[in-house]
Amino acid sequence: MKLAIIAGPASVGKTAVVRQIIREFRESSNPAYVKIDVVRAFEDEELREEFGIPTRKVYSGDLCPDHAGIMVLQDAISWAQNVGSGLLIIESAGLCLRCTPYTTQSFGIAVLSAVSGSNSPLKMAPMIAQADMAVVTKTDLVSQAEKEVFREYIKEVAPSIDIIETNATQGTGMRYLMKALAAYPDLSDAAQIVLRGSPPLGVCTICVGKKEIGWQHHFGVIRPLEEADNIYRGD
């Protein structure tokens, strides 16, 4: 099974990118999808209805949504393997731009919007720098010159990152993403997966820099995939 982790600010078009990925891989890989969000999310229901694929959502509630995603990731991998999926897609809530949810053994995609202002790549530097690919959406709304200027800002943050520009609702330019994702290796040993970067300081064990995925490895407010309530697990 392959693991793809998709991050990016709210409303940039992450789900539009996910739709294109599902369309491309539905025949070959039976994609499964998990959406992490804070209060409400509808993407799981929409995608299940549209494509008939296994989907789930996790509400982080009082927990940071990226941390909630990391907490449930080990469980989510088991779930996706159990439903016979060949490609698990995790979509972040897209709130904090500091913490990056990408892990080892996964394909990390940062989604940015071409209409979000020239400095936005600088503001979300860690999210871009640790991704495998930056997908710039809504490029149909800006001029070519502006698209190229936006690209320069991304390169300032991550000089060697693979950048694709797309109008994700139509899928223009997405063939490069599909090629890269298809060529990416399957995850080899889920127990060995760790975060690529160190999260910022905080109060839970993910906040303070423990990189293991799965709630079993953490203390404080933790979160399994089943049992949606917050669970406090000692210190």
């Binding site: 070519q144 010159a145 502006e146 190229e148 200027v149 950048i163 899928g171 223009t172």
Partner: protein, 268 residues
């Protein structure tokens, strides 16, 4: 291939909105060619030039494929702006970049890996000012430019900074720019140019006219000499309308003596 080398573009047919194949085998666009794309709103004109800009490989809604010099373009050419032989000026004159004019141009110069940055910025602004009556200065904020100023600057940018052999211009007539000056400049620079246009003068002044309907190319016209007399006439009418427009904009009352000359009137 370096972008400064001339490139020949081949458009291979896709399908219309009902999935029916388009009515041409291939459209070859050679260096220095001028084409116009005409058809009602929503007929697929912008999609046609967008296919060329993204060097589509059956991965857009139209299903068209684009060849460069007879072969599918390399990924590098399609993805690295400094290697792409094409510049597109979209219909949108919105700019979101919160930068001033000179910083915007500077970043684009870096993206296109050009040198002599200072001179190039000055020359681009000077050329843009030939295309618009509203003066652009280097310290102006990109987001504060008018539609005409933005369009003029982006065309000048495509000619001097993009320096691509192929220019795609989507409804340039809509923003207040001097379109005759733009056309003559493009011709002086020996660019290949494709206009999406509703403007009779622009449409008639190109070598070939592609007619769109329901998302597909339905005709490719090569008028050659047949429309020459009409072009001269349309040009006169255009000058008259330009003059009238300018006077109305500046607050003149248009009197009897200005009544449209019957001699020019409607083309026969």
């Amino acid at each position: 291939m370096h972008r400064d080398q001339m490139s020949e573009i081949t458009v291979l047919p896709g399908t219309n909105r009902n999935g029916k194949r388009e009515g041409f085998d291939q459209i070859i666009i050679r260096p220095g060619d001028t084409l116009s794309i005409v058809g009602p709103t929503g007929s697929g004109k912008s999609a046609f030039i967008n296919d060329i800009e993204v060097l589509a490989q059956a991965d857009t809604v139209t299903g068209r494929r684009i060849l460069v010099n007879g072969v599918p373009p390399s990924d590098e050419m399609a993805r690295d702006p400094s290697k792409k032989p094409i510049a597109l000026i979209t219909q949108s004159t919105r700019v979101i970049a919160d930068l001033d004019v000179s910083r915007f141009l500077e970043l684009h110069i870096e993206a296109r890996k050009q040198t002599h940055i200072k001179d190039l910025i000055e020359n681009t602004i000077a050329l843009a000012n030939e295309f618009t009556g509203e003066q652009i200065t280097r310290a102006m904020s990109m987001t504060a430019l008018s539609g005409g100023q933005t369009r003029a600057l982006l065309i000048a940018d495509a000619i001097l900074i993009g320096r691509t052999p192929i220019l795609l211009l989507d409804e340039v007539e809509n923003a207040g720019i001097f379109k005759e000056r733009v056309i003559s400049c493009i011709k002086e620079c020996r660019k290949t140019v494709i206009f999406v246009t509703h403007d009779p003068y622009l449409a008639l002044s190109t070598d070939r006219r592609i007619v769109m309907s329901n998302g597909a190319v339905v005709k490719v016209l090569e008028p050659r000499e047949r429309e020459r007399a009409t072009i001269a006439r349309v040009s006169e009418i255009d000058d008259l309308l330009w003059d009238l427009r300018e006077r109305i904009r500046s607050g003149d009352l248009i009197g009897e003596e200005d009544a449209i000359d019957e001699e020019i009137g409607v083309p026969a």
